[in-house]
Symmetry: C2
Subunit: 348 residues, 2 copies
């Protein structure tokens, strides 16, 4: 066991502050990682505020983790001390159910073990990446290339895979007409991936001011969703919509933008259920689907793709003592496009 510095919320809605946690001594299959950067995901806020229920406190958030390996267990085959590594949204799963066996551990029927706000197989609470070190089974550890700017890699572990996976699953590529709804942490990665896969990409945003950024990120077109004329002109024009909005909104308005046989995938979770009119789906054999991060195999595939295509997240670096302020700014969409904590600031 080792004691490591972290930042935790002691109870729901409490601000985060310094907190020491214990990490286990690496077991035979474990990788010990000295954390360098950790991305700040909107779901960190939801969980710290117990908005999804069942939160475990004290809570150390953070599931967009990159760092350097400082120790490995004697059975570890795929990782070496000194290499870069990443950890995403989960650190274990049952390994025996159909989804686990097919490499989609995010859908583990017995419940994946969240990187934080979860309980491991011994029933102990898990602590995330707002900390200086983490110990993870190598099966749930990712390889990270030395080629990329490491700060921008951290958000790939959640924002990256959350957008990469549905674009791949629904076979977005050359010839696809794709809309990305919402240009935040998820949306900006969706634009980068969809453009990289060869699709024609349109960003839909409430903020007219984001058009220039959208195009820099690779979008070909931009629609201000508050403009009824632009929305009307876009009816029936997309094969695929990646909807990253987590605020309450009208799904039907976006479903009308789909072409026949089109699919809208939601990856954001509005606080309340949304209304869906059957006619919105029936009139064009349309689908409204959901997608949740990705399995370990696909997350590795995504990281490798990013290394090959020089894709990272656009980030704003913060020291750990700015985390509470960052949450407030995220609530106002005031970040372009992901806060990443410099974990060096936690080691001081």
């Amino acid at each position: 066991m080792s004691t490591v510095h972290a930042y935790a919320a002691e109870k729901a809605k409490a601000p985060l502050g310094p907190f020491d946690i214990s990490r286990r001594t690496p077991g035979p299959n474990d990788v010990q990682i000295d954390i360098l950067y950790c991305g700040v995901c909107h779901s960190d806020i939801h969980q710290v505020r117990d908005e999804w229920g069942g939160a475990i406190f004290p809570m150390v958030p953070g599931h967009e983790i990159v760092g350097r390996i400082t120790a490995v267990g004697d059975q570890v085959k795929n990782f070496k001390v000194g290499e870069l590594a990443g950890v995403g949204c989960f650190v274990d799963s049952c390994r025996e159910c159909a989804p686990c066996k097919s490499g989609e551990e995010q859908f583990c029927q017995n419940g994946m073990v969240g990187t934080y706000n979860g309980r491991d197989k011994e029933g102990q609470p898990t602590y995330g990446g707002y900390s200086t070190q983490i110990v993870v089974d190598e099966k749930y550890t990712l390889h990270v290339s030395e080629k990329l700017d490491l700060k921008g890699v951290a958000p790939l572990l959640c924002a990256g895979i959350t957008t990469y996976s549905p674009l791949r699953h629904w076979k977005v590529g050359k010839g696809s007409k794709v809309a990305i709804v919402g240009l935040g942490g998820l949306g900006h990665m969706g634009v980068k991936f969809a453009a990289s896969f060869g699709a024609e990409v349109t960003v839909l945003s409430t903020s007219a001011g984001k058009e220039e950024d959208a195009k820099k990120l690779g979008a070909h077109k931009f629609i201000v969703t508050k403009d009824p004329e632009q929305m009307k002109a876009a009816q029936g024009s997309f094969d695929f919509i990646l909807n990253t909005i987590s605020a309450q909104h009208d799904y039907n308005a976006y479903l009308t933008l789909l072409n026949v046989n089109g699919t809208m995938v939601v990856v954001g979770v509005p606080p309340e259920p949304s209304l869906v009119a059957a006619f919105s789906l029936i009139g064009g054999r349309k689908s409204l689907a959901g997608s949740l991060i990705g399995g370990i195999r696909e997350t590795q595939e995504m990281l490798d793709y990013c290394a090959d295509h020089n894709i990272v997240s656009e980030i704003e670096m913060i020291d750990i003592d700015k985390i509470n302020e960052s949450y407030e700014r995220m609530m106002k969409n005031d970040v372009r496009y992901r806060f990443v904590i410099d974990i060096a600031s936690l080691k001081k």
Copy 2:
């Protein structure tokens, strides 16, 4: 032009009564059909009562039409006088848009011409199958086998294709675990098709009394949706759900019954939008989709499949003067499983 007997509603919510209409003299590409039977679809009620808006009165409903050909235009290639023929939900479309060209005329971008409550290319109102004769372009006319009981064929033109098409589109077959929600005119056809395709079929119904019928129709299992224990036990167990309910209901309760990557297709249209929680879709990459009848090519494929596999609708025959009473019984789900009008009763 010929004058033919029909039954019409003169205004929204008015009872249907005798009414004479004109049918055009067959043009070079037209088929003239002496109507023998016409099924009574729930959407007849919606439209007669103008519940979907924009209804055209007087209205002669009916889009599950079978009869015998009495004349053909001189350019007609695929139909002969004396043959059986069928007409479904539409009698024309633009023929030029992408959906029309791909044989999915039901999604015509310029609007298919409904068999009734529509306007043809000359702007004239269309009249449906509650009449003794209809004249239709051969491209929108279906071949009907002499092998089947013709009364049970009529409902295939809407209830049949509405359930056949999504089961085919989502590749339901051997190894599929399928739920059919609602055992009415659509649902009972869904059971027959899904079982015929080799799927394991479970019927979900509010009416415990329908279990015996469900199993006679081919279902392997039966769940009473009002029983929370049965619903809980079925969580995550279906690959595909065909939801035929047109009353208001909670989609989320059914989405939890889907396995990872499962799809629920709605073919019923509840009067108001339904609530959908993003978590219901995200936690298992699930899809909520819609499907609308089928194109002419697929409708013919369905009719041929039925002839080859001896599939027809379960029907209750009525004379035309019982139509208003039948609507009332349908509103109480008191029909097993489709009313079919004996059009001979209109010729008297």
